[in-house]
């Protein structure tokens, strides 16, 4: 799989490149700003663009805006946003347009190299990886909805699903068996009234419902 990186801090860019190469990515371009990123994506059409939110010249949300352009113009390229702080607004902007093939993680998560590699692979394959902080911020706003019917454990499972984890990953994280996780997930699907379609589709819908981004 091929990746493009946009990050204005040289030190960190080197670190991210190493982690991505370790995770099996081929890094075709390293950029320092949004304009460079867009032309690199156009040229290389990578599977994933790993993008810093705050970049020159304005140092605000250049990365988010570039990510939206990439998702619109080159839907085959997934985007993984990295940021010093997770901001709920940026997450909403990013996820409102398209929820597959997007990720939004705190920069400090890169330090947990293996987890980060897994998230990057998930996003590159068209999945979703959201930082636990993004998830908790998105949950802040809701008051009453079907999600309130979920048990705390089911909530944990759903949160990890939103983070892009596989069933086995969730089982390892919560220290339960994989069949228990499957049971929880089925229960979640039922409580959220999700149609019986193929498992992956329902999985994505559950995550969307969880994030308050889908109504059906």
């Amino acid at each position: 799989m091929r990746a493009v990186i946009a990050e204005d801090s040289v030190l960190l860019r080197i670190g991210v490149v190493k982690v991505l190469e370790m995770a099996g990515f081929e890094v075709c371009a390293e950029e320092a700003d949004a304009a460079g990123l867009l032309s690199a994506v156009e040229e290389h059409r990578p599977d994933i663009a790993v993008v810093d939110v705050r970049m020159p010249p304005g140092y605000t949300d250049e990365g988010v805006r570039a990510a939206l352009v990439i998702r619109r113009q080159w839907p085959d390229t997934s985007v993984l946003l990295l940021s010093q702080y997770v901001e709920e607004r940026y997450a909403v902007d990013l996820l409102a347009a398209n929820t597959s093939g997007v990720g939004y993680l705190l920069k400090q998560r890169i330090a947990d190299v293996e987890e980060f590699a897994e998230s990057a692979r998930t996003v590159a394959a068209g999945g979703t990886a959201l930082d636990p902080q993004v998830v908790s911020q998105l949950l802040m706003r809701r008051h009453s909805d079907p999600l309130d019917r979920l048990t705390p454990r089911e909530r944990d499972v759903l949160e990890l699903m939103a983070g892009g984890r596989s069933n086995s990953g969730i089982a390892a994280e919560l220290v339960v068996s994989e069949s228990a996780v499957a049971k929880h997930i089925n229960s979640i699907f039922t409580k959220l009234d999700l149609p019986r379609a193929d498992a992956d589709h329902r999985r994505v819908l559950a995550v969307l419902r969880f994030l308050g981004l889908a109504n059906t």
């Binding site: 140092y59 605000t60 010093q84 702080y85 400090q108 190299v113 802040m140």
Partner: protein, 422 residues
């Protein structure tokens, strides 16, 4: 020695400043003579008899004097500055230049009409007083030096008036007394004139205070903005520097941990420890830096920035922000700071299970209420060091109000009002 220094000082001191005062009065008399000359000008050339001619001869010179008001004010100010070293401040926002739009504004304004009162009343009266002082001074001088005058009289006169020596002694004494009196009078009159000028030519007390308040408000706003800008700069520097370096360090340690599989147990432990420490340092620095001035505040406003704060807290926070437009960056920064600090306090001290934050705009005021269901007992006087005083000060720096009600047993309610006029 002592006698020598004592004598001239005592005798001459009254005249020290009198010279300046008299010169000052002389200039004043000259100015008023000029005005009088303008007023008298028509009468020098002809004596009007018809009513219209009298009217013209009175009205035209008077109007000329009134129109010259701003000029006279400047001349008088120069007189006070040059002769007495007294600076009579100019009233703010008043054009004291000759010219049609200026003169209209000048005549309509309260300071302009006050200045006219000086030129038509106080000034001439003081000049008249000055004239009296000059006459007294000259008389005193003449009387004090009577022996000199007697010396130049013909010797026959002296021979005929034999008792003149004793009489002249009295006259000399009276003259010296008159000199002292007129010196005192000259200074007293200068003081009266200065007071009149300060009252009538300068700004009134109210105008002066208004101007001072405006100046202070402006300079304080500058200081507050500068502090805010400084906070932003520090945030930017930390974000671009230390934060990225620390993350890079944590990433490299993570890579070492993941790739160096065949390390001895000891080395693996050290790397693990360093990796954890680095991640904790990143998290700690993030919290600190975000408290300074988050980039999202500038970019997306209070709602976005505060929801980030609320989500990071271990206590559930209900947040409701309803603003029709964005307040100024400084007010936004203060509002953000107050809410984030108060919520930090709630977590640290209140032992609350939940908190409520509402931010709304009513009639040009930004109203912020932060309520928690904790144990209460927060001390707004800051004795217990809860940082509430710092918050109150920061709120006051933008003319806001801060109140904290926190009875023992709770709940604690912090209300803040900030100006957010468009």
């Amino acid at each position: 020695m002592r006698f020598k220094t004592w004598q001239p000082d005592f005798l001459w001191r009254p005249f020290g400043d009198a010279g300046r005062a008299i010169a000052f009065h002389c200039v004043g008399i000259a100015i008023q003579s000029g005005v009088l000359l303008v007023l008298a000008l028509p009468w020098i050339y002809f004596v009007p008899t018809a009513l219209w001619a009298v009217t013209v001869a009175v009205v035209v010179p008077s109007a000329a004097v009134v129109l010259a008001g701003p000029l006279l004010t400047r001349v008088q100010r120069a007189r006070f500055r040059e002769r007495l070293g007294v600076v009579v401040p100019a009233p703010a926002g008043l054009a004291e230049r000759p010219g049609r739009p200026g003169i209209r504004q000048w005549l309509r304004s309260a300071p302009g009409r006050r200045q006219l009162r000086y030129h038509l009343l106080a000034g001439p009266l003081c000049a008249l007083g000055g004239l009296v002082v000059l006459v007294l001074w000259a008389t005193g001088g003449a009387a004090a030096s009577i022996y000199v005058w007697l010396w130049v009289t013909p010797w026959q006169w002296r021979a005929e008036n034999a008792g003149y020596v004793v009489k002249a002694a009295y006259v000399t004494a009276a003259g010296v007394a008159l000199l002292y009196a007129s010196a005192w009078l000259a200074k007293a009159l200068a003081r009266v004139d200065t007071r009149a000028a300060n009252t009538l030519l300068g700004p009134s007390r109210e105008e002066e205070l208004t101007r001072r308040v405006a100046d202070l408000a402006e300079s304080r706003a500058g200081v507050v903005d500068a502090a805010d800008a400084e906070r932003r700069r520090i945030e930017r520097d930390l974000h671009d520097g230390a934060q990225q370096r620390l993350v890079a360090l944590a990433v490299n340690l993570g890579l070492a941990k993941a790739t160096l599989g065949d390390l001895p147990e000891e080395a693996r432990k050290v790397i693990d420890e360093a990796h954890r420490e680095a991640k904790e340092a990143v998290a700690e620095l993030n919290d600190l830096v975000r408290g300074l001035h988050p980039a999202v505040l500038e970019d997306r406003g209070l709602d976005a920035a505060l929801s980030g704060v609320a989500a990071r807290l271990p206590v559930p926070v209900r947040l409701s922000v309803s603003l029709r437009r964005r307040p100024s960056p400084t007010v936004e920064a203060v509002a953000y700071f107050v809410v984030s600090e108060t919520l930090t306090n709630v977590v640290k001290h209140a032992r609350a299970s939940s908190a409520d934050v509402t931010v709304e705009e009513t009639r040009g005021r930004l109203l912020i209420a932060i309520t928690d269901d904790g144990v209460g007992g927060a001390d707004p006087s800051g004795v217990s060091g809860t940082g509430l005083t710092g918050l109150a000060k920061r709120v006051a720096s933008v003319d806001g109000t801060f109140s904290c009600r926190s009875p023992l047993g709770g709940p604690t309610v912090v209300t803040v009002e900030l100006p957010c006029a468009p």
